[in-house]
Symmetry: C2
Subunit: 457 residues, 2 copies
């Protein structure tokens, strides 16, 4: 193992150069004009798989962008790891807010700036380099590994469920490994053992067949923008409690043990507030900020639109009004049931003066892993070696729907080991990745394979 | 007078051709690209003044678009009328919804379709033709008249107050006459004796310095889009009563006489509802629809904007949320006081979790005229001759701020005689004007000058 680590230390600078080439490909899956770039990025990944010594390397087609596959399956008796990641990236708008071009990676003060640096090219490349280090140094890996890197994560992993379902036999493994999440904080490595689920809906109201002059008609008809405010207001009370009937029925109450563990984490609420620029934090009464983020469901308005939104004054009663609503969910809430409850309640409280339409856009299941599982413990030992500090067990308020997909279809545990930082601007301008975390992450990954290898399949 | 009417009847078709030329000029004051067209329209109006026999014809400059002036002041002992209108028009968006090009006037089933047909070119042109008919036939008018046609009405008459104030001596008159409003209904001519006032404000909320991921941060910070809904909801209750403290303090209660008069008007609530396409009407309890429109103040949301409003699902907590709010006012509410009350109340109820900004955009005073005044009675006799039916006295829910300007500065009564129809799409695609109403309007205008001429200055 020492030779592997030596190899990684020796090649540190080469890794950055190679990563820059990877980050130079604008593989934006949401923008049709970049379809060729997405394809080029899949091919780059495929070539990289061959370079680092993976076998059976191929592009597996889907109805959308291809999945890049490679494996190495010669560690008899050792566990098989299914490593998942994505080579596509978010759009770059607003482009004017980038301090350097998003597809010309630039290193400043120990961080590499580029779209995809943290999400997810940097984090998958970390594993590519760990695999390479093992195979070059020892001509073998301590585990069996199957790698699938998809190209549609940023557009909802549209075809991944079907892909995994159809190939569930070939993708069989003992554990799923994903590096696509932030670590708890700078200097605080972590393993993520919980994700919230999601139910995303849209409300559309129609009052009249067209916009009306608010002078000529104001006072005699319902205003759908105001009715929308009334409806939203009935969804959550002033204390932050959601009023949709049955919403909390299946919420698993927080365990005292979890609350105690989270309370010990080095979380600085003052800094959190300051970094967000919020005048004052707000959340459900009786819970800490981390409990609100990791262990409690939410009701959020993601967008509002009605009538005149330009500069100045236009005296119109909008014909329609729209709200986008998402609810983050915790075990054991069922996203479909919650979306249905939302829809029924909205219909019930909407007055007869408007026509209401509810569209259910998207759902994802909540997920938690046992923080004392064998693979989590092994990963913890490995990360401690790479970062010089035992990782904390955290959760994430966001959702990674594929985690539930793997759990349901493959019925194996997932380990989420991320090395991004919470402020590294994934999905925003000036995305970046800390290069020390990257380097420690390559070492941790190699150590992780070794620790997993000590477990029996 | 018979000869004047004969002249008008004989020239009926010529009027339409000339009106088409006027309507062909895209004098959209709100769109800078049309500045030359606005100027060209002022010049067309100026030339028309000369053609019809007005004197002292000139373009009077303002810091914005010019006012076209002309007069005829040789009716010794007769009253002086200040006639006001505007040659600018609304934008044409959405252009795709027009059945014929907005600046190529097209006659279909007795209506002329074009931007500006009703608002206001058709209605001012009606007076141009009445003046012409008198001057050609009799070489004189029965009244003294000063005509001012401005080019900024559709952008809030920005420079008109100052214009009238500076020239108050030259513009002195016994009565102001305006034709820029709809008649009560098809076949029901009307004189408008009341307008609501206006206070238009914008609320901007900021929660955090940038949009946040609703998964990673949802539940721990206030959502400004939701807070906006809470704030709006506290502005008006479910019965339609406005909850801003002091809002109703100076509202003049409706007179039994007005209520009785309005109840007699041929208003078909069922048809009103059907034409709007509203599932159900809504308004303040204890008032009829006409009372709600003409005699009661309102609180309307004119626009909402926050976060993600495109297609599909984006999981964002908006950094900001915006609402445009307008309140229509009735005598004796003061727009500035109401705007201040709105601002104070919004600040009071806004939670400390967000930053609130209120911008007061626009105000206009409510206005009413005595329905039994001398000029109103004279106008009523004239309109009866032109339309074959005695006009009703109505009000308008909208606002024409210049009416208060004239009242305040010139201290004379205003007569509002409009011949548009409520469904003629002023400010909307397929604006039109009924040509029978136009023709009856030219006759009524000539008769109106004659009736006014019988009154002494």
């Amino acid at each position: 193992m020492d030779q592997v680590i030596d190899f990684i230390n020796t090649n540190r600078d080469r890794y950055i150069d190679e990563l820059k080439s990877y980050l130079a490909i604008p593989s934006i899956s949401a923008v049709p004009e970049h379809l060729d770039d997405v394809k080029r990025c899949a091919e780059w990944t495929e070539a990289e798989f061959t370079r680092i010594g993976l076998e059976n390397v191929q592009l597996l087609s889907t109805p959308g962008n291809p999945v890049v596959y490679g494996d190495w399956l010669h560690a008899d008796g050792a566990p098989t790891v299914l490593f998942y990641g994505h080579y596509d990236v978010q759009p770059v708008d607003p482009i004017g807010e980038w301090d350097s071009p998003p597809f010309e990676a630039s290193v400043r003060e120990g961080e590499i700036y580029a779209r995809g640096a943290a999400d997810d090219k940097g984090q998958i490349f970390m594993h590519f380099k760990a695999i390479e280090a093992c195979l070059v140094t020892n001509q073998r890996l301590p585990i069996n590994i199957k790698v699938i890197i998809e190209g549609e994560e940023e557009i909802g992993s549209r075809h991944l469920d079907e892909f995994v379902r159809e190939r569930s036999h070939e993708l069989g493994a003992d554990v799923v490994l994903i590096s696509d999440s932030p670590m708890f904080d700078r200097g605080v490595p972590s393993i993520c053992c919980g994700l919230r689920g999601l139910a995303y809906c849209q409300i559309d109201l129609r009052g009249t067949k067209s916009d009306l002059h608010s002078g000529s008609f104001g006072g005699a008809v319902a205003n759908p923008a105001f009715v929308l405010a009334q409806i939203l207001n009935q969804m959550k009370d002033r204390s932050g409690r959601i009023k949709i009937p049955g919403f909390y029925d299946r919420v698993r109450e927080l365990q005292d043990r979890d609350r105690a563990e989270w309370a010990k984490l080095p979380f600085n609420e003052r800094r959190f507030k300051k970094e967000l620029g919020a005048p004052k934090l707000f959340g459900e009464k009786g819970f800490t900020t981390l409990e609100r983020l990791w262990g409690r469901p939410t009701f959020e308005v993601n967008g509002l639109n009605a009538g005149f939104t330009g500069e100045g004054a236009k005296t119109v009663i909008p014909a329609t009004a729209m709200a986008k609503i998402s609810m983050r969910l915790v075990p054991d809430q069922d996203p479909e049931t919650i979306a249905d409850s939302f829809e029924s309640y909205a219909k019930k409280i909407s007055p007869k003066t408007v026509e209401l339409t509810v569209t259910q856009l998207h759902t994802g299941k909540p997920w938690t892993a046992a923080s004392d599982g064998t693979f989590v413990a092994a990963a913890s030992r490995a990360i401690e070696k790479g970062f010089g500090r035992k990782p904390v067990v955290n959760r994430e308020g966001g959702s990674i729907p594929v985690v539930s997909t793997f759990q349901e279809i493959l019925q194996v545990p997932t380990v989420l080991f991320g090395i991004g930082l919470p402020d590294e601007n994934a999905h925003a301008p000036n995305e970046k990745l800390d290069l020390t975390n990257f380097h420690n992450g390559v070492i941790s990954s190699a150590e992780l394979y070794a620790e997993f290898g000590k477990l029996r399949a």
